[in-house]
Symmetry: C2
Subunit: 217 residues, 2 copies
């Protein structure tokens, strides 16, 4: 349905639509999913009218961005998984903080509103499930190959990444980037296989994370 109406777009309209999504990606990453619609329109070089014509409300836009972005991340992850034979290396590459992964987490995990908007979109849902499955697969393989500590679950990894990928309010972009690069390495070292300290509780699974909305017993 959406695909149908999109396909029939006049070429200039199609171009504008793409620009809007691209602009929204950047704006969402930068300011979060509450950024004013007008800001997005401005960055896309279109009027708000055009934006609203294409996406009747913020939710629709968020959904479109989420699809686009989740798709990219899934493709990325698949590629990494295929190329890298060391599961640990795959994990490291996956967690390398990329723009799109950051936005994905922003939309899917943090931010109440965006989560709600995305929750019921079947396409995004499929992507998310696939992503989680891949993460679990990597964690399992890395543990089997002995590079990842055995007492963590994929959820633990996800929690750490989501902590790391949140927007940091530091003025200097460069400084922030390098700080986070270091933090990532430190965190990865904490995940390395060798006792270190015993972890409290039981491993966090991906289910633990996704169930958060359903308030299961």
């Amino acid at each position: 349905m959406a695909a149908e109406s999109e396909a029939r777009l006049r070429t200039d309209a199609r171009r504008n639509r793409d620009q809007i999504i691209a602009a929204a990606k950047v704006a969402f990453t930068e300011f979060g999913p509450d950024v004013p619609m007008e800001e997005i329109a401005r960055r896309a070089g279109v009027g708000v009218g055009t934006l609203y014509r294409r996406f009747p409300d913020r939710e629709a836009l968020i959904r479109a961005v989420a699809r686009d972005n989740f798709g990219a991340v899934v493709a990325d992850a698949r590629a990494v998984l295929a190329e890298e034979h060391s599961a640990w290396q795959a994990l490291v590459r996956l967690l390398g903080r990329s723009r799109s992964l950051r936005l994905t987490i922003q939309l899917a995990v943090l931010s109440e509103g965006a989560r709600a908007a995305v929750k019921d979109d079947p396409i995004t849902q499929r992507y998310r499930d696939e992503l989680m499955a891949m993460l679990e697969e990597i964690v399992r393989r890395a543990q089997r190959e002995g590079s990842l500590r055995a007492d963590v679950g994929a959820g633990d990894v996800a929690v750490l990444v989501s902590l790391l990928l949140r927007r940091v309010p530091v003025d200097s972009e460069v400084l922030a980037e390098s700080m986070l690069d270091r933090a990532l390495v430190l965190i990865l070292d904490g995940l390395r296989a060798d006792p270190g300290s015993p972890l409290p509780g039981r491993p966090v699974t991906t289910r633990d994370l996704t169930d958060q909305a359903t308030r299961s017993p």
Copy 2:
């Protein structure tokens, strides 16, 4: 001056003032420093009028809360530093995610607005400097005793803690708590002394963090 006017308060007024600060602490921790003034008043069991009479605007309230809270954290840290002879243990205890430490970071590091409000308050400033100095001291001692990896600075530690202490939007409080407990241990393991991976760049100092506002060259 502030102290003078506070001292002259009628006992009931003084009580209300204390309740307001207590309520604000909780509300700030829970919703961030933008929580509506009315919400704070409600929790304190007073009217907004009373709130505004005591604190002419949000900034004034934030300043008062910051003083109160920083003071507590500093006292805490001092106690830990005195009791614990292992610097590593001191570090572990310090980073144990306490309510007040969380609020402190919230106000002093995250949140544009609060940072601005607090920046020029000399009392808070002194507390902050003292806290930073203590952290540096601990890091130095822990490195000398060989428990903390040598290639990190106090700033690295601060960055990790601030990552960890941000509000996590998970419905189940209990689950969130236990997840973060695990994340903390994982992060601490990454800080442990033993090679692991080489860190990129140079150690982040506390100066790197505090200079963020002044955009130095």
